[in-house]
């Protein structure tokens, strides 16, 4: 875990509600796909947590969904703005024992959160299927980014306006040997109820601190209470009491 200053070098609207931020700063604390950062937002008391979408030594990519005043402020900041970040938070995905046909299922703002994992897996020669699920065509983002990784990309929209008409559950029909998913809690709960293979779920939560101190983001699991921020955000299938 590291606290350091990052500078926005690019801020780009991917859709009406999702903004891609590229930030320059020390990414040395980020070690595993699926970890997250806590961003101090000018004028707001609490930091905001965001999944690491991609990272290099000094370049961090985040996808921020406009979901309130804090994220609006963040999305409207100009390039050159400095931000205070806590990096290297959370456990991230376990990628040591990945089977040959991993399926990644992203829902809405959870799509970007799977990008670093897709990159890690395709770099290691895995045949990755990426099911990107959205409400409607206007919400779709990052399809090209996943395609450029040589992942098999499948798009699902609830209204069928682009790709297959369907949702994350329909993606389970794709041939796969393992599941990684990130998206709304209801989506993850439905996947967990319908999946019998190895699965890992990355959870979103309203957090206070982001590093395990405040107990604000606790969930109940078969192994007792767990903090999404410090014990997660990635949990194995069959464990969470949704």
């Amino acid at each position: 875990m590291l606290q350091s200053t990052f500078t926005i070098i690019q801020s780009k609207a991917l859709t009406a509600s999702v903004q891609e931020l590229k930030l320059k700063g020390d990414c040395s604390a980020i070690t595993v796909p699926g970890q997250f950062v806590q961003v101090e937002v000018p004028g707001k008391f609490l930091r905001r947590p965001f999944s690491v979408v991609d990272w290099e030594e000094n370049l961090l990519t985040l996808c921020v969904r406009r979901s309130g005043r804090g994220t609006d402020i963040l999305c409207n900041l100009d390039a050159g703005t400095e931000l205070n970040l806590l990096t290297g938070l959370g456990n991230g995905f376990t990628t040591r024992h990945v089977t040959p046909l991993p399926l990644l299922v992203g829902g809405g703002s959870g799509v970007g959160a799977l990008y670093a994992l897709a990159k890690n897996l395709t770099n290691r020669g895995k045949v990755v299927s990426a099911a990107l699920c959205f409400r409607t065509a206007a919400d779709v983002y990052y399809v090209n980014q996943f395609a450029e990784l040589d992942a098999q990309v499948y798009i699902y929209t609830e209204d069928g306006s682009i790709g297959e008409k369907g949702n994350a559950l329909d993606a389970l029909e794709l041939t796969h040997s393992q599941l990684f998913a990130c998206g709304p809690l209801a989506m993850l709960a439905a996947l967990d109820a319908n999946e019998e293979l190895d699965a890992q779920f990355s959870l979103e939560a309203r957090m206070g601190c982001g590093f395990g101190a405040c107990m604000g983001c606790t969930i109940e699991t078969t192994e007792g209470p767990k903090r999404v921020c410090a014990d997660g955000p990635v949990f194995p299938g069959g464990v969470i009491q949704w």
């Binding site: 101090e40 008391f45 939560a205 206070g208 590093f211 101190a213 405040c214 107990m215 606790t218």
Partner: protein, 305 residues
Amino acid sequence: MVNTTVNLCGIDLTNPVIPASGTFGYGLEFAKFYDINCLGSFSCKGTTLEPRIGNPAPRIAEGNAGMLNSVGLQNPGIDHVVSHELPKMAEVFHKPILANVCGFSVEEYVQVAEKFDACEQVGWLELNISCPNVHGGGMGFGTSCESAAEVTAAVKAATTKPLIVKLTPNVTDIVSIAKACEEAGADGLSLINTVMAMRIDLNTRKPVLKNLTGGLSGPAVFPLAVRMVWQVYEAVSIPILGLGGVSSAEDVIEMMLAGATAVGVGAANLKNPFACKNIIEQLPAAMEKYGITDLQSIIGGAHHG
């Protein structure tokens, strides 16, 4: 050179900075960021007899200059704390701690206090009769003079350690409750706990917190805390651990001028894990700026003359 040492109920602290209960866990998360032995002490997460998961999510919300929590005393229970958390804590923190004691009955407070009393690491007991997020306990004891005095006297009889009673600001007259606790045997007082508050989501038109209300902390409550520390200092002769929105070395000095012997830092730790370390490092320069050589000498300084 300046002297930052203060004495809280008979135990010397190298500086007055004490992370507040519920914002510092059992110390381990912060020990990953810095050597927490720079702290004066710290107050551990509020501990009950039985394990508690706390209230349903969401249990964090935000205000313009602070945050609301409705965690509701999530903790693994006193036996697990004594057998697992305190030994782990001993590896990263080598000074006496404040053990924050919570309960839902006088008997439960006493049982938790007795178990903490047997622990060498525990320097003080902090009796939490002020948590706004639990029902049938917590703040219920801290809102009347009679119940506050009853639980204070019972726990005082069960411990050999200095007993600091933590008071709630959610009362009409905190001074009378402070006096009742002093008369019942409290060795010190800590104030304030969080201020009961609410936020409403404009999209759902419902309270943000599932518990509906939560406790407000952070800079928003600092002036309120200073005022209450001032009033209580006027009325009692036991030491005060002042807290509520403290986020800088200047805030520490102001709280001490109001009457605090030691100063708690709460929500600031959650925004910036280095908050206490920064405050402690900035304290000597702030003291010099305001012509203070001995911090202990300024306690209640705003009341004189």
